[in-house]
Amino acid sequence: MAVLTEEQSMLRDAARTWTREKSPVSAFRKVRDSGAPLGYDPAAFAEMAEMGWAGVIIPEGYGGSDFGYLSLGLILEETGRTLTASPILSSALAAASAVILGGTEAQKEAWLPKIASGEVVATLAVDEGAHHRPSHVNTKAAKTGAGYTLSGTKTFVLEGMAAGLFVVSARTAGADGDKEGISLFLVPADAKGVSRKALKLADSRGAAKVVFENVEVGADALLGAEGQGWDLLEKTLDRARAGLAAEMLGSAVQAFETTLDYLKTRVQFGQVIGAFQALQHRAAKMFTDLELARSCVEAALTAIDNDSPDVPELVSLAKAKVGDTLHLVSNEMVQMHGGIGMTDAHDAGLYLKRARATEATYGGQAYHRDRYARLHGY
């Protein structure tokens, strides 16, 4: 665990207490079983916003606490532990980052206070295919007299069913795959021509496909400079990836601890199965990987807070390492629990399904290893 300030320790303790008491895994299970279209419990999210969690990275002038990414990561680690579903990552971290980094004064005033209070859920609408590839942008933004007209389809949009605001990547110039010519737009979900459809994934969250059909927006919807959106998009995505990595770390730690408890209680052959060396060494390997992954996640979040030049490489390192670790631990959770781990009544399956969904979000391990190599010139 990183060395924390007193305020950060208090924030983490508050998050730990709240998630355990108000949002244990059984709460997520209830959301899933209810078939609620949003994929999360709005009342629970309202409580989180009430505690200030939706404003952690937002400057004080816009209703936030300006507490930084490492601090928000502490909350996400705790929500990851109990599989708490909420728009904290998509809205209070990812979309908020885009507005903080690229927004005009008017855009910040219009959206940040609403994001911080939880009144509006915002999200990134950037992917157009099965794999995260942010330069793959076919959505077009044609310049009109008063602004732009957007046409295209975005998919696997996190909290896409709940969102009131989309941060959309669209092409104002260039061809699919080019980094030049990408622009970002702030598009309200109720704009004419916006439609969406739920994508029911194995992890039962609120992903959606969002169609933009000749959606007209004003010039004031452009976030950052026209055609120069790539850097802003990458900076925003790196913040989102680091936050997601913190959530994944929490899920991996909890999946491991739940499994470790089982190793200490399940008796076979007259002894607890945790006495078997075949399982002990696998547990030791998981613990080792968790510690290594934690170092990477904390280094990435700290680098963001320090606006350090090595943010991209540290973020790719964190997302890939924690992805590998969560992959391993979620598989071992099922295997070590044996038959009970295969039942829907047990939590292991929930961690396994969530693990794969988070691995694929904002770039999987292969994507980030490749990016790390490119950043280092090989």
Binding site: V3, K264, A284, T288, L317, R369, A373, H376, Y378
Partner: protein
């Protein structure tokens, strides 16, 4: 020497800088290496002078008490000293097992007379120590050791054999675990120190898969050891030996860090990514030409970076008031794995050029890769094998039952 007291770190730093400028021979810049303290090569006049100067200030062991010849520095001062040394390429000539393992252990468990006698000579880099722990029948199961130590009234009588005694052929003194009670296992072991020139001590160097090595077999035949050379209580040596091994493990794991490009006997230097660009070449896109190799190179570089970040985190955590970091327990396995993976990858990247044994046709660096690759296989065996480390994590950190407990 000047008295570098007080809390003013910057004042201390300035004084240290001056002192280093006066005493560090510029010709030695950047020439420090692993296990200097055990090296067999005869030291140059420059090295002798540098060792003497550092020995007199006690800065070779900066945080040890002044009363025993240490530097008496605070950890902040020691850090400043290290930074100033790094800045001019100076290195600590005082090292080896006396400094890394035995000294800290004796300071904790030795009596006053033992500390007065042995610590100052370690601090001055005068006496080289070797470790008599492992035996032919006591490797991972160290507590089954059989080297017999009998109480003969006015002396101890030692008979038996040790193996993997690193640096025994150059060592002046030995610290050893010996059996003083054959009826018990852990509770029958004592911690004994003795002069390697004592009659009955015989040393035979071992040739390893990497060639010549610092490891030896050491035989004891009716070796008479003075009574005052028992450290700690009779039959209380196991706890002392375990503490000493903790010092050893923290020293070994450091080899895996990406920052440790120096290589040395137990691993190889060099960056797999840079070597791959050079030896394998690039494709039209400027990527490593062999995509399978390229994928494994980046996975390794990321593992190395994760280990390096973890090493930094454990230091930060132990400096803060959060108590000892749980991550420390993983460092030996994680670090040695990174080191061995790097060596394997480099050998593969170099192809046949990476398998040269000696002679013409190979650069010095290429030859060092082969020896380092082979020598590095020892890192997951000594100091508690990788399997023993996993047992320790399972038992002490994760709280799982000890399958060996009877």
């Amino acid at each position: 020497m000047a008295d570098f007291g007080g809390d003013d770190i910057e004042a201390f730093r300035a004084q240290a800088r001056d002192w280093l400028r006066t005493h560090f021979p510029p010709l030695l810049k950047g020439r420090g290496g692993f296990m200097n303290g055990e090296g067999g090569a005869s030291a140059s006049a420059d090295i002798r002078a540098w060792t003497k100067a550092m020995g007199e200030t006690g800065w070779g062991v900066p945080t040890w008490p002044k009363a025993y010849g240490g530097g008496g520095l605070s950890t902040a001062q020691a850090r400043a000293l290290q930074q100033e040394m790094n800045a001019i390429g100076a290195w600590n000539p005082i090292g080896g097992m006396g400094v890394m393992m035995f000294g800290p252990t004796l300071l904790e468990y030795g009596n006053e007379a033992q500390k007065q006698r042995h610590i100052p000579s370690i601090a001055r880099g005068e006496i080289r120590w070797c470790q008599g722990f492992s035996e032919p029948g006591a490797g991972s199961d160290l507590a089954s050791l059989q080297t017999k130590c009998e109480d003969k009234g006015d002396h101890w009588l030692v008979n038996g054999q040790k193996v993997w005694t690193s640096g025994a052929q150059w060592a002046d003194w030995c610290f050893a675990l010996v059996r003083t009670d054959p009826s018990k296992k852990h509770e029958g072991i004592s911690f004994l120190i003795f002069d390697m020139r004592t009659p009955g001590v015989e040393v035979r160097p071992i040739k390893l898969i990497a060639g010549a090595s610092p490891f030896c077999e050491t035989f004891f035949t009716d070796v008479k050891v003075p009574k005052e050379n028992l450290v700690g209580p009779l039959n209380g040596g196991w706890a002392i030996g375990k503490r000493l091994l903790q010092h050893e493990r923290s020293g070994i794991s450091g080899g895996g860090g990406a920052g440790a490009r120096g290589g040395g006997m137990f691993g190889v230097g060099g960056s797999p990514a840079e070597l791959a660009l050079e030896y394998v070449g690039v494709d039209d896109a400027g990527r490593i030409a062999d995509s399978d190799l390229g994928a494994r190179v980046v996975a390794h570089e990321m593992d190395a970076k994760a280990f390096q970040l973890t090493a930094m985190r454990t230091v930060q955590e132990s400096r803060s008031n959060q108590g000892p970091s749980a991550a420390t327990s993983i460092m030996k396995n994680a670090g040695t794995k990174v080191g061995q993976d790097r060596a394997e990858l480099i050998i593969e990247i170099l192809g046949h050029q990476g398998l040269g044994w000696e002679g013409a046709g190979f650069s010095a660096e290429e030859l060092s890769f082969v020896r380092g690759w082979l020598g590095g296989k020892a890192t997951t065996i000594f100091g508690g094998s990788a399997e023993i480390q996993s047992n320790i994590i399972s038992k002490r950190i994760l709280g799982l039952p000890d399958p060996l407990a009877s």
